[in-house]
């Protein structure tokens, strides 16, 4: 969109423009990074953070100083793994051991890798990976152990997947396989982050006792991306939607993109979204366990974006034609709302859940299931933030009033009195006008005495004129 396009766009959507301005002008990071004291390797790490991720670099860089570098290094390590896995030009014999042993690379000073094909977009990160290794080794040992463990698990998970893809068919078949795939690429990140937060005492240790919660945090984000990118992925010959779901709606995966199967594709999409929405309760529960503002923001922003993206995709045929994205204005508003507290974030979730609910149609085979999952989210939000308590209800039943209610009642009574006075005034006014009009008529010779006599005789209408034709 050019400048003119932008002006036109925002002139009819002033609310979006307002959100963008509000975010750009009034948003203050919880923790400002101090760039002057940074070493060369740190600078390099932040440079790669910016290069490899647009969405995450902003939230990572606003993290509490205690977690700033551990999270940055963690992210870059995983990005490194990803870059090796994604590169189809690396043969299996090289790739598999690299992935499986990546955790040991973290201890090897000066390790770099230039085996990526030139067009691989994050190639440079691995070429200069020694920066990441240097920073990794000066982290607190506890953080190092966490990062290493997750790298180990993810590297092996990826290696299994790559092996399967090379030797047999790696397409996602069952819903369990789909969950497992999402767990390796995103659920593990949730686990690692949670362990970092708890280690830094920014998260409730109970979060680690319920692994389902942080797993859901990752899965919800990953599933949302998989749903939104279905068209783009398919164009790149990648399919992540599990066969167990799509085969219920179409016979061939490619049919999803054909106009004649649009209805089936939308129903299939609904089922995918339903599957993702099952995680929402866990995600909100998880966010309730965070104790530090910048950590909350770090976790909450992507979640809010995800629910908005799901709403955008729900029953939207455009997503089978092109890549769709939430608007910039909405994104800014979401960022503002998800950098405050859980209550406001819950309002966001409720808003989008209701929008999804509104688009739900009884013709969809999963109509009721979607309705039920929406109800569950609302019920859960009501559990953490009750809109009315049993004590309030008791007071109302007993007829007792709080100070506030009594004040409101007094105010209402006053308003009522005002209304009565107004109506009385109007009545008096009407009476005088009538009197004046009757008086004028009388003065001009109206015979009210005759009219009254006729009325008494029961003659309510004027006498009919004589019809001459009868003569």
């Amino acid at each position: 969109m050019g400048l003119v396009g932008n002006i036109l766009y925002y002139s009819i959507r002033p609310a979006e423009l307002r959100s963008i301005i509000q975010w750009k002008v009034w948003h203050n990071p919880v923790h400002e990074r101090n760039e002057t004291d940074e070493t060369e390797t740190q600078k390099a790490c932040f440079k790669f953070l910016d290069l490899t991720s647009r969405s995450f670099s902003a939230v990572i860089k606003e993290l509490h100083p205690e977690l700033l570098l551990p999270t940055t290094v963690f992210y870059l390590v995983l990005r490194g793994l990803d870059t090796i896995e994604d590169d189809t030009s690396i043969p299996l014999e090289t790739k598999e051991p690299l992935l499986r042993n990546f955790k040991d690379i973290l201890d090897q000073d000066g390790w770099t890798f230039d085996g990526n094909r030139p067009e691989e977009k994050d190639r440079e990160l691995l070429v200069q990976f020694h920066n990441v290794v240097t920073e990794f080794k000066i982290l607190k040992p506890a953080y190092q152990a966490i990062i290493k463990d997750i790298t180990d698990k993810m590297g092996n998970g990826m290696a299994d997947y790559v092996r399967k893809a090379a030797l047999e068919d790696a397409s996602v078949k069952s819903v369990d396989e789909y969950d497992l795939y999402c767990y390796y690429v995103a659920g593990l990140v949730g686990e690692g982050c949670t362990r970092l937060f708890v280690e830094a005492e920014f998260g409730n240790p109970a979060l680690l006792k319920r692994p389902r919660l942080h797993k859901s945090m990752g899965l919800f984000l990953q599933k949302t991306n998989i749903i939104r990118d279905v068209r783009e992925d398919n164009d790149d010959n990648r399919r992540f939607w599990p066969k167990a779901i799509w085969s219920k709606h179409v016979d061939n995966f490619d049919d999803l993109f054909k106009p004649e199967y649009r209805e089936a594709a939308l129903n299939c999409n609904s089922e995918m979204i339903l599957n993702a929405l099952e995680h929402v309760e866990d995600c909100l529960f998880y966010l309730a366990g965070l104790r530090e503002q910048s950590v909350f923001n770090f976790c909450a922003i992507p979640q809010a974006m995800a629910i908005a993206t799901l709403e955008l995709c729900f029953r939207n045929p455009a997503m089978f034609e092109r890549n769709i994205k939430i608007t910039k204005g909405d994104a800014c508003q979401l960022m503002m709302e998800s950098t405050q507290n859980l209550r406001i974030l819950c309002d966001v979730f409720r808003r989008y859940i209701r929008k999804i609910h509104k688009k739900n149609t009884p013709k969809d085979p999963n109509f009721l299931k979607i309705s039920i999952v929406c109800g569950k989210v609302e019920k859960f939000i009501e559990t953490i933030f009750p809109s009315q308590k049993a004590e309030d209800a008791k007071r109302r039943i007993e007829g007792a009033q709080t100070e506030e209610e009594a004040a409101k009642a007094r105010q209402d009574a006053e308003t009522r009195k005002d209304v009565f006075v107004m109506m009385a005034l109007m009545g008096v006014f009407a009476f005088f006008i009538t009197a004046i009009m009757v008086g004028i008529a009388w003065a001009l010779g109206a015979r009210f005495d005759l009219a009254w006599q006729e009325l008494k005789r029961g003659n309510f209408s004027p006498q009919k004129p004589v019809k001459h034709s009868e003569l």
């Binding site: 009884p362 085979p365 109509f367 039920i372 109800g375 019920k379 009750p386 008791k394 039943i397 007993e398």
Partner: protein, 364 residues
Amino acid sequence: MARSSTPFQRVLISGGSGFVGAATARAFAEKHPECAITIIDLQPPGPTHVVPDSASFIRIDITNADETSKVLQQVRPDVVVHTAGIVPSLAERFGRRLKKHVWRVNVEGTRNMLEAAKGSGVDAFVYTSTCCVVTDDMRMPYPNIDEGWPTSPTSLIYGESKAAAEALVIQQSSDEMRTCAIRPSVLCGPGDYQLVPSIHACIAKRETPFVIGTGLNLWDVTYVTNIADAHVLGAENLMTSRTAAGEAFFIQNNEPITFRDFCLAIWAHFGHFPSFELHIPEGLAYLAGMVSEALTWISGGAATLSRGSVRDACAIRYANGEKARLILGYEARVGIEEGIRLSCEDYARRLGIELPSSSKQKEE
């Protein structure tokens, strides 16, 4: 449910020929096949609400205290499940015309049952209450309520009478005879003569496109066999750990959905999809209800559209099922989606019509 060793030998179910009573009799027979079931009711069991073959039947009127106590002396059950009661029809729900009758059956009947049970050495008394003991007071919304919410002494004749009866039951709990109250939400299931039929009737009346209020208000609905399970769990608890003694429990499917979606799902089973949707603000509908009430007041009879029914349609009513889960170990065995399907199939059979094939495909 796993079969367990039976903690009781004889169960007596009042109102056992009815919707909830018959389902409860079936649940007892399924889980405790060796226990003897006696059904007492005004009417013998019929084909609509099937009861187990093994159950014996005694015809009595529980508003007659002497008769009731004689029957209990004769049967000498360990467990009494008191499901008998009157639910006024929708048309009478908001009026006070039937007040005397409803109170006589629901409150006096319960008092007679309690006295008779105490006199014949009953150990456990499970009472079928209703969520209406709380929610019939329509002055406020009821989101995610728990058992700490107050029952209302002045609501609708049904809620009032059930609240008074429930209070009697809870007060009577003692070491000799433990009592508890089960509070089901709105019910659906085979043999339901109120909910699914009246929603289905909207299709013929061409009322389906109209949405009163926001259409976002959540409701609890319970499939009837789930409520039957809760009665069995209540009886088991009172005979074993006794942690439920003197307690009331909200029981529902724990899957609150909007009232609108519940209706849409039923219509969809019958192959009907509203072609458009028209939202009527609650205030306007309330006014229309008032007019309709005034007209029927003049013409006599009971109004179908009334202020009460408008408020009912817009009400938020769902409970938090934690207490029943923790104390009774209750969980809905039949999900609401399946429950709605089974209810619609049963109603279609009663109507003698075939459901469109699209809803059958969903069964797989």
